[in-house]
Structure formats: C-alpha cells, structure tokens
Amino acid sequence: MKKIVLIGILLTLFQYSPAQNYKFQALFIYNIVKRVNWPSPSDNFVIGVMGSKELQKELIGISKKQKLGGKQIKIINVSSKEELNDIHVLYFSRSSSSKLNDIQAQLKSKPILLIGEKSGLKGVGINFIDNSNEIKFEIYPANIKDHQLTLATSLLSLGEVKQ
C-alpha cells in the first residue's frame, strides 16, 4: 500500500497566500468525492462547509465548473444542526472540529462523507492532516462504511489508509 499521498504547497510557489492550500485541498476534495458512491439519488450534490471561508470560496469555484454524479454541486455554509438535511459531504475546518462531537449522533448512519482537517481527529471518513506547508490526507474506510458509503478502490492507493 502506498503510504502517503500528500499535497504541500510551498510558499516558493505561492507566496504569502495561505488560501493556496485550500485551492489544492478543494481540488482534492472534488477528486476524492468523485471516488465515493452515495446510495440514494437526489437533485443536487450538497457539500457543507463548517468554518473555512477560503475553502468554501474554492469549492464554489469548482461547483460552477463541474458536476458530481451528473448533478449540480451546491456549496453551503453550515453553522447549525438544522442545516444538515440533504447533505452529502460535511467538511469541518480545524477550528470547527469540536462541533463534530455535537452532531455525530445526528449524522450517525446517514450517507454523509465527513471530512476533517485536524491531526488525531476521530470519527471522520477523510482527514487532511497538516494544512500548512503540506497537505496529506488519511482515509478511514470503516467510518465511511458506517455512513453507508462505498469507496472506489483506486482511492485507497492515493491516501494514507487508517483502520
């Protein structure tokens, strides 16, 4: 198994602009989500973002150019539990990680891919670790399966699989 797939944005390439990391993280999220299958169809493909305005901006850019599963991508800013209906992906920025515990029960078994960006964070399906100079992501297949989602095996070789 390939141990690590990472993306790190050296400031040599992109000076003084932390948003550049989110630019690539957003691209990674789009590519990862393409390799995940959801059980039930719906009108739109909804990605909820908790906390990171930069990522949200990058994802909105992608949503205007691409579709997922033939559906329009809709990016929403999530700030409360009420906004979690009909959501496919929920992203927790580093500073919003604590909210995961509060809503985990509500999301349990629902077909939602949870994505975090904090080293050591438990309960997510995909976790971006170290988003400063490099971006690595961990894959938690068991957590993904618990949410009734299936993964393309090709993804497993691209991230760091955690059992």
Binding site: T12, L13, F28
Partner: protein
C-alpha cells in the same frame, strides 16, 4: 487514367490519415490538455483551477510529486527550506527571505542531542558559541564581541542580540544581555529556532543590533492527549529531564511542560587572572575579598563543582475560535543557578542565581498580530558581591497589521517597552552600597512602517523604518532596514540589505551609582587611615551602541537536493561605552621640601576618583562571508556544512596608559606624553575568530536507528585584558568538537539513545579565564505517548 485515379485516391487517403492524425492529436490534447511530465515550475504556477480540474486525480498527485511535493521533495523542503516568520513578520521560506536567515527545526534539535538552547546554536552558521563552564555558554552573532578589548569582563556579554520566546524579549536590561540559564523553555519545548543576522530593529525594536534569535515554542495542536518525557543522565553528574503534557479539544489546546537540568564543572578550582594562578574553592572567597574589599567571602557559593542547576515550568493555552484567529497565553516560572564568568572579582567565575515569572499573550487575527508580556524576577548576578542583586519587571507590548494590496504588503506597527530594576531590598541605600541604590526605569515607545513590494514575481523590495523615543532617559532614535531580493530563476535568488540599529540604554550604563571606599594609610606618623573613594556613575546622555550593515547574499539550489546560501557582510559599529576616569582628587602629598627619610607631619587627604560611563571614540569595522551548504542525499542521509570567515578592525582605540601602549605597539612612550595626549590605535580585533563554523550529518539506516554527528570549531582568538596596570595577553587556541547522538526506536512510543557531547574530550579552554571544558557522555530515554 487508372494510375491517376489511384494517385487521387492515395491523396484522399493521405488527407484522411492526416486529418485523423490531427484530430486525434487535438482530441488527445482535449482529453489531456496538460502533460504533467513536461510542465515547468513556471507553468505550474500559471495553472488555473480549470486546468487543474481537468487533471485526473492521479495526475494531480503526480504533478504534486514531481514538483517538490512528493515525500522526498517534502523532505528537501523541510530540511533545505523550512519556513520562518521572523525576517518579515509573515510566514515565508528561508529561501525567499530577503535577510540572512537560518532555521533550526524541532526535528534537527531532537536528533542533534543538544542539551540546551545555546548549545543548539552551534548548529547554525554565523553563530559563535563558547562554553564557559559545563553547559554555560557565551553566544554572539557574527562577532563584534568583547569590545572594547582589555576592558572589564562584563563587556564580553552579548548586548546586541535580541533573543525572544514567542515574541517576548528575554533580554536583561540591567547590562543588556541574555542569561541563557534564565530561559524557562528547554530544547524540547521548541518548534524551531529562527535566527536573523544583522540590524533588525526596524521590525523588532532596539537591541536587535547584531540580529534576532527567535525561539518558537510547540503548541498543543493535535486532537486528544499526548505526553512526552525525555530523561538523560551521564558524566559530570549530568541530569536532564524534560516533559510535556499536551491536550487539544476542539478550539482549545493546553500544553504543560517542565524541565530540570543539573551538571557539574570539569574542575573545582578557580583561575585568578590577576595572580595567574589556580586556587582551590575554599580559598576563593577570601581571595576575592582581599582583592575587592566589598566582597563578602562567606557568601561565595561553597558548591564549587556546580556548573548549572535550573528548573522551569510552562503553561501554554491556545484558543483558536476560527481559522484566522488565535489567542495564546503563556505562563512560565523558572529558577536557576549557574557558575559562570560575568565579571572579574578576583576569580572570574561566580554564581548567578535567578527566579522569574512571566506571563505573555499573543493574539493573531487575520493580518493583525499583537503581543503583551510581563516578566517579574529577582536576580543576583554575582553572589557575594553587594549591589548585583536586584528585583526587576519588564513589560513589553507590540502590535502590527499586514495590509495586503495586490503585490504590496504594508505593515504599520507599534511597540512599547518598560523596565524597572531595583536593588533597594538588598543594599543599604543611605550608604550607597548598591549599584543603583534605589530603583531605575527605562522605557521606549516606537512606531514602525514596513513596505514589502514584489514586482513581476521576481523583484522584491522591502523598506522598513522605525522611529522610536526613549522616554526614560529621553532621546529620539531611528532605525531602518532596506532589503531587496531578485529571483533570477527558480533556483537562484540574489539579495541585498542595508540596515541600521541601536541598542537601547541599559540600566547600569545609565543609572549606576556605586561608591567603593578602600581604607588606606594617610598619616605616616601614626596608624590613622583615610580612604580611597571610587565613585562610579552612569550617564543618561550616553549614545546607545549603533551598527550599520551592508550585506549581499546569494541563495542557489545547485541541485534539487543541494542548496547553497552565501552572505557577504560589512558592518560598522560605534558608540561603545566604558567607565572613564572623569576626575581625580589626589592627596595633597608630602611637602616638596621634605628631606629624604623625613616623614611628613600632616596627614594626606583622601583620594577620590570619579569614573563616569562615557561613549568612546572606538569604532569597529567588520567584513565577512558566511557560506552554508545543505545536502539531502536521500531519506536516510542528509548533511550540512557551514563556515564564516571574517576580519574585524578596531579604529580609534584610545590609550593613555604607557605600559598598555608598549604592550600593544612594542614601543615605549614616557608617561607625560600619553597623559597630555592620548594615542589612538587601530588594530585587528582577533577576539572574534577569523574562521568558525561546523557541520552535521544525520543518518537513519532504518526506521529504528538514527545517528547524528555534528562538529563545531573556530580558529585562534587573541585579545588582551587589563586590570589596573596589569596587562594580560589572552589567547584562545583553535578548537574543534564532535558530538554524536545514536538513538534506537524500540517501539512506537519509546526511544533510547546515547549522547556524546565533545566526543573526543577536547579540553581546550573556549572562553578567557574560564574552565577547560571537555566531554560529557549521556544515556537517555524518550517516551512519546
């Protein structure tokens, strides 16, 4: 006709094939518009989100791998170009920094086996590190040390480098020095050490004259609970223990850390320069008291073998309410005792003890950052010598904002410092037995503006100006820093710097008020005694030391895994200060008509000498070159090599003592010539070694084993020392020391190691008149849970 038809047919076929080829090629380009293999770095920079969305994920990852982002490239980046934020007050690669910059990362610190922060500075180019006693160091950036030569040893302390822990200056304003054993953090608390060379007051305020050493501490940023303990013990009764508990939950991170360090000297006797002899510990107290009658013999520490004992605890709380906002609190307590060289009291070594408590808060919100800290402490710089014990408070506050407009970053900043030092709890104020005899205050406020403009992605121009005001004592001052860098191509960066900085006034230089009264016989007819009164006073009008620097630099990625960083620097320093005899009231003396053998009938007057702290005409010009090479062979092996060559010339060194003149020039002058008109000499300042540098190699043959060897050395150092009319030539021989740390990772949480410092036990003296420092051999265990 048939032939023609066939030819026509062939033509159509050719056209069709051609069309197909072209369309296939177009189609292929359509499907895969970007050939990752052929993209240059510049082309990658220009890729839009649309372009990148077209890439299959594998290609995106491949692109990332190809251009610096694979794990080995990540390693290159990590080892060759760690990021730093001290040079420009914003995160950037070392390669990009317009100033001469070095970063030592936590990983390098851990693998090196460095026992303390000053010892770890031997891993950085351009730093002169001399061990005085086991574990106690003198640290200077690039040199200009012990100026004026021949003066008191207190002038050997580094008063021109600003050392900070997470933006908190740890500078002692009493004499202008960093007492390294007073720092509450250990090597294991550090995320990295960032070093900026050259005058940097325009960003950091006064005292960043020869540069800045910024110690950035670790934070609890990993979710959950982590603990880390490291214990090592070895020869010279060495015991070093550090530990930390980190807990992060959501927006909160808490880190509690502690450290303890104790080690013994390599000898238990003491060198007395004035007598050129070593004496045993139990003789030193009395001997010092006989040389300086104010010294209290019984208070000389009887723990003659102790070199250093220090302990500290730190609490670090970080609150991150959003991605752009971070609030950090640090509270630290430390207690330390070090037997080291500070001033000549007969013995050069004496014990310095201190306790201090500090609180600091750092806030970051978008482009805004601010810091406020308060340190309260008690310090006895020379145990047994009245007047050197004091209570002190240091308050620091600063704030700045990075406005970004297209390619321009504008950073306005404000800073304020206040220091209060008082010896009133330790001396008889009425009898003037102290150095201050009361409390003394220093204060500054500064405003700064920094502009950072990048043109055509290649040319960067940085200008910073600081306008400051010392409100106690009153004075305006300004500092500047102009830097420019030009990115010739992806692998080459040229840079130039012109900058000027001042130190701030120091408490002792400004407010010293010391009286020494030495009994002396004044009436030869009987035992009647008078006194020699020596009054030493500070000077509020003293100009603070100033350095102006010109620097040229080249950074070059010779290969993707080999990087060179070369700096050529020229600096001019002036406004050094020293106690100068201002006024001497001599005894009336015997009558002129006194016959030989006849004794005077009247007693003579007391002698009174007034010494005032005055600026000297002395100037120092230094030119030098530092080269630093880093090479990452592969994941298992990496190395660095660095060296500095420099020449320092002292100009206008005033000399009024004929014996000193003779020693320095080899020619003699009669007393009167020099009394009437001082001579001014220019000569090479050889106390800063002409050549110094080091190297390190890290080898990890397997995931379990790691071997780290480092070496550090310098060429011969020469100077002279005077005490009264005694002139002592000082020669420090060249010295090269090797260190080796070999570690074995037993399992995921336990690592055991052996750590040899000065492996070959080279016992040459590193600092004038201090111990012959040798090897220390330790074994240790590190646990990370």
């Amino acid at each position: 006709m048939k032939l023609k038809h066939i030819r026509l047919k062939n033509r159509y076929v050719l056209l069709l094939v051609g069309f197909m080829l072209i369309s296939t090629s177009l189609f292929a380009q359509d499907k895969s518009p970007i050939n990752v293999e052929e993209l240059s770095l510049e082309q990658i920079k220009g890729l839009t989100q649309e372009d990148l969305l077209e890439l299959p994920f594998e290609d995106l990852i491949h692109l990332v791998k190809k251009f610096k982002l694979s794990s080995i490239e990540e390693l290159y980046a990590l080892l060759l170009n760690p990021t730093q934020s001290t040079a420009s007050k914003m995160e950037e690669d070392v390669f990009e920094s317009p100033l001469a910059t070095t970063v030592i990362t936590a990983d390098e610190l851990e693998k090196s086996g460095a026992r303390s922060i000053p010892e770890a500075l031997k891993l950085a180019p351009g730093v002169i590190v001399r061990e005085k006693t086991n574990g106690n160091y003198d640290v200077h950036l690039r040199g200009n040390d012990y100026i004026p030569p021949g003066s008191d040893l207190t002038n050997s302390v580094n008063s021109t480098t600003l050392v900070m822990i997470d933006n908190r200056p740890v500078y002692n304003s009493f004499v202008g020095a960093t007492f390294w054993e007073n720092l509450p953090v250990s090597v294991n608390d550090l995320e990295k050490i960032e070093i900026i060379y050259g005058p940097s007051a325009a960003l950091y305020g006064p005292n960043a004259v020869s540069g800045v050493i910024h110690l950035i501490t670790k934070k609890a940023d990993t979710e959950g609970l982590q603990t880390n303990f490291d214990i090592q013990a070895g020869t010279n009764s060495s015991k070093i223990a550090t530990g930390s508990i980190n807990y992060n939950k959501g927006k909160w991170g808490i880190r509690l850390s502690g450290n303890y360090n104790q080690s013994n000297r390599f000898q238990d006797n003491y060198y007395i320069p004035q007598n050129d002899e070593y004496v045993s510990g139990d003789q030193v107290g009395e001997l010092n008291a006989s040389i300086d009658t104010s010294f209290i013999a019984s208070e000389f520490s009887n723990d003659y073998s102790n070199a250093i004992e220090q302990g500290a605890a730190n609490l670090d709380i970080t609150y991150t309410p959003s991605d752009k906002v971070m609030i950090n609190y640090q509270g630290s307590y430390q207690s330390s005792s070090a037997q080291t060289a500070y001033m000549d009291i007969g013995s050069v070594l004496s014990t310095r003890k201190s306790t201090s408590f500090s609180n600091s808060i750092n806030v970051k919100a978008g482009g805004f950052d601010s810091h406020i800290s308060l340190l309260s402490g008690q310090l006895n710089a020379v145990e047994g010598m009245p007047g050197y014990e004091y209570d002190y408070q240091e308050l620091n506050a600063k704030a700045g904002y990075n406005f970004k407009y297209k390619n321009l970053i504008i950073r306005p900043g404000i800073m304020a410092n206040y220091a209060n030092y008082s010896d009133e709890n330790y001396v008889d104020i009425e009898a003037n037995t102290g150095l201050l005899n009361g409390s003394a205050e220093l204060g500054t406020v500064q405003g700064s503006l920094r502009l950072d403009y990048t043109a055509f992605d290649k040319l960067r121009i940085v200008g910073a100006w600081l306008q400051g005001y010392f409100y106690q004592p009153e004075r305006n001052y300004s500092s500047y820093q102009f830097a420019s860098s030009y990115q010739v191509n992806d692998n080459t960066l040229l840079r130039a710097v012109v900058s000027k900085s001042n130190s701030s006034p120091f408490v002792l230089n400004t407010y010293m008020d010391k009286s020494i009264q030495v009994p002396m016989p004044t009436n030869p007819n009987n035992d009647e005694e008078g006194y020699m009164n020596l009054n030493m006073v500070g000077n509020e009008d003293l100009a603070p030391q100033e350095m102006q620097m010109f620097e040229l630099g080249l950074r070059k990625r010779i290969l993707k895994n080999l990087q060179a960083d070369v700096s050529i620097f020229y600096n001019k320093s002036k406004d050094y200060a020293q106690l100068v005899t201002d006024e001497t009231t001599l005894p009336s003396g015997p009558p002129e008509d006194l016959a030989e053998g006849e004794v005077p009938s009247e007693p003579m007057n007391d002698i009174t000498i007034l010494e005032t702290m005055e600026n000297l005409d002395l100037k120092s010009d230094q030119i030098g070159i530092t080269a630093n090479f880093k090479y990452v062979m592969n994941k298992k092996l990496n190395m660095s090599l660095f060296a500095t060559y420099q020449h320092t010339e002292l100009k206008d060194f005033e000399i009024s003592d004929p014996s000193q003149y003779e020693e320095l020039t080899g020619t003699s002058l009669d007393d009167n010539t020099l009394t009437e008109n001082s001579e001014y000499l220019s000569f090479e300042h050889s106390y800063t070694p002409n050549v110094y540098g080091g190297a390190s190699i890290n080898y990890s043959p397997t995931n379990k084993w790691n071997f780290n060897t480092s070496l550090y050395g310098y060429s011969k150092q020469e100077s002279f020392y005077t005490k009264g009319r005694d002139f002592i030539n000082v020669t420090i021989d060249p010295k090269l020391t090797f260190n080796l740390k070999a570690s074995y990772q037993i399992n995921t949480w336990m690592n055991v190691y052996v750590n040899a410092r000065n492996l070959t036990n080279n016992t040459k003296q590193e600092f004038m008149f201090t111990d012959k420092t040798g090897g220390v051999y330790l074994g240790g265990i590190s646990i990370k849970l």
